[in-house]
């Protein structure tokens, strides 16, 4: 009788302590994970005027809250690719001497179509569509 009572009490005490700790930890673990803030879906941005870039030059433009690398390869040829390196998230740049895209972080190279040429990046850069509307450069997602 006393033994059964003792184990019941021990069980209640242990269970009580355990569940109170769990009830503290649950809100804390949920608290430290940041809430999902849905980003406004952007499908098209006006990057600027045609004159903003000389041929064989490039700039980073904002596409929503993501950087996009806009390249004016020649007088008429424009390219836009995500500027986020597929390796570990650095922001890539255009190399005007070799006409390639370069990531300084671990020496990754891509061609102007986003294909990996050398270095550690595992995937190609996503390409965007560039159109010239009047004298404005418009970038849209997906082909």
């Amino acid at each position: 009788m006393t033994n059964g009572r003792r184990s019941l009490i021990r069980w209640l005490l242990g269970g009580g302590i355990f569940s109170s700790i769990a009830s503290f930890l649950y809100p804390v673990t949920r608290f430290i994970m940041p809430p999902n803030v849905p980003e406004a879906a952007v499908n098209e941005v006006v990057a600027g005027k045609v004159q903003m870039l000389q041929p064989n030059a490039a700039a980073i433009v904002k596409f929503g809250n993501k950087p996009v690398l806009l390249i004016r390869a020649s007088e008429t040829e424009w390219k836009a690719l995500t500027a986020v390196c597929t390796h570990l998230n650095c922001t890539v740049q255009y190399k005007d001497d070799t006409h390639q895209i370069w990531c300084a972080c671990h020496n990754g190279f891509y061609d102007l179509g986003g294909k990996v040429l050398s270095g550690p990046p595992p995937k190609p850069l996503e390409e965007f569509v560039v159109r010239i509307r009047g004298d404005e450069v418009v970038i849209t997602r997906g082909a």
């Binding site: 994970m33 980073i60 390796h87 570990l88 998230n89 740049q93 990531c103 671990h106 270095g119 595992p122």
Partner: protein, 353 residues
């Protein structure tokens, strides 16, 4: 009557037992004794970190619009601000260096042996915390280099299968490195990490106290000369602290820590980007790993490799003896030399390339 004041305190604080304890404490004295100073040097530099860190807190502001400017303000307007910040940065680096020396001396003197395994484990924990301090503190000035280093570092966490994306979100406080990351890293750097470090440090020092200082196995069975801890060892340690302080002062004054340029999330990563020197070896390794190894992504292979290496190293006391408890001294020394060789050559390559 004896002096009344010490008696009064003694009764209330138990000073004489402390005095008696200190009087009996000794340190083995042999050709390797100089290596015993490095744990103390690490501790000393940690205290400097706490003091200068608290001072920097008086002016620093952890937001993307103000962090860089507030550090700039500290360095240009606040009296001796450049010195305090420079000392904080240099001392952080020297502290990690001293911790490395301490760790390798423990390996080569085989001081991790039974019953000191827990001291080794807590020491590894402290080293990991020191690196977490370094990684989180690196971002706080919100300059370009630190911004991209944090992007790469947190993205490495994301490459872990299953839990990786959660870890990255937890670290960044959102999808990408930004203001939320800065606030978080600030919280880690000035509250979470110091708290955990203090506990672990007390444990580490308590264990050193409990088991005393180990002497190398080759001297085992021989009579080893002992030097009293107080004042002999203590005064020598004090001189070591002065030496560390002198080095720190020279470095901080002659090579003030640079601030660089303010981070811009819409700018390309500049050439010459690199992390703090103690992350250079993994950084350079990442550069060499091709995009795919067999069917796996290179970064995943790299990350798994580092994790395995860290686990192997952290559990050193467990594989350092054979089943009969005999020390495999050769194997441990060899592993130590290999790790040291990999770490230093890759760090140098990572720096120059």
């Amino acid at each position: 009557m004896a002096t009344p004041a010490p008696g009064w305190f003694d009764e209330r604080l138990g000073l004489s037992s402390i005095r008696k304890f200190v009087a009996h404490k000794t340190v083995p004295s042999h050709s390797g004794t100089m290596w015993y100073y490095f744990g103390g040097i690490t501790l000393f530099l940690f205290v400097i970190q706490v003091v200068t860190g608290v001072l920097l807190l008086l002016y620093y502001r952890p937001t993307t619009s103000e962090a860089f400017e507030s550090v700039q303000f500290i360095m240009t307007r606040v009296k001796f601000g450049w010195l305090i910040r420079s000392v904080h940065s240099w001392s952080a680096n020297l502290m990690i260096l001293a911790a490395f020396v301490h760790m390798f001396s423990v390996v080569f003197l085989h001081a991790y042996r039974r019953p000191r395994e827990m001291a080794w484990f807590s020491g590894i924990g402290l080293l990991a915390l020191a690196m977490a301090f370094g990684f989180s503190g690196y971002l706080l000035p919100w300059n370009t280099i630190s911004y991209f280093a944090t992007k790469v570092g947190t993205d490495m966490a994301a490459s872990v299968p299953m839990i990786g994306p959660y870890m990255a979100r937890f670290l960044r406080g959102g999808e990408d490195v930004g203001g939320a990351t800065l606030t978080r890293f600030f919280g880690f750097h000035v509250a979470v990490l110091p708290g955990i470090t203090t506990l672990l440090l007390l444990m580490h020092l308590g264990l050193v106290q409990r088991f005393g200082i180990s002497s190398p196995p080759k001297l085992e069975g021989k009579r080893i000369a002992q030097m009293p801890f107080f004042p002999n060892f203590f005064l020598r340690e004090l001189m070591a602290w002065y030496a560390a302080l002198a080095l720190l002062g020279v470095l901080a004054a002659i090579f003030p820590w640079e601030l660089g340029e303010k981070a811009d999330p819409f700018a390309s990563a500049p050439a010459g980007i690199r992390p703090e020197w103690y992350f250079l070896a993994p950084f350079y390794t990442l550069k060499l790993i091709p995009s795919h190894i067999w069917v796996l992504e290179g970064e995943l292979v790299g990350f798994a490799g580092f994790a395995l290496l860290a686990a192997f190293w952290a559990t050193l006391p467990l594989w350092a003896t054979d089943r009969d408890g005999m020390l495999r001294a050769r194997r441990v020394t060899g592993a130590g030399i290999l790790l040291l060789a990999y770490y230093s050559t890759f760090s140098i390559l990572g720096y120059w390339r």
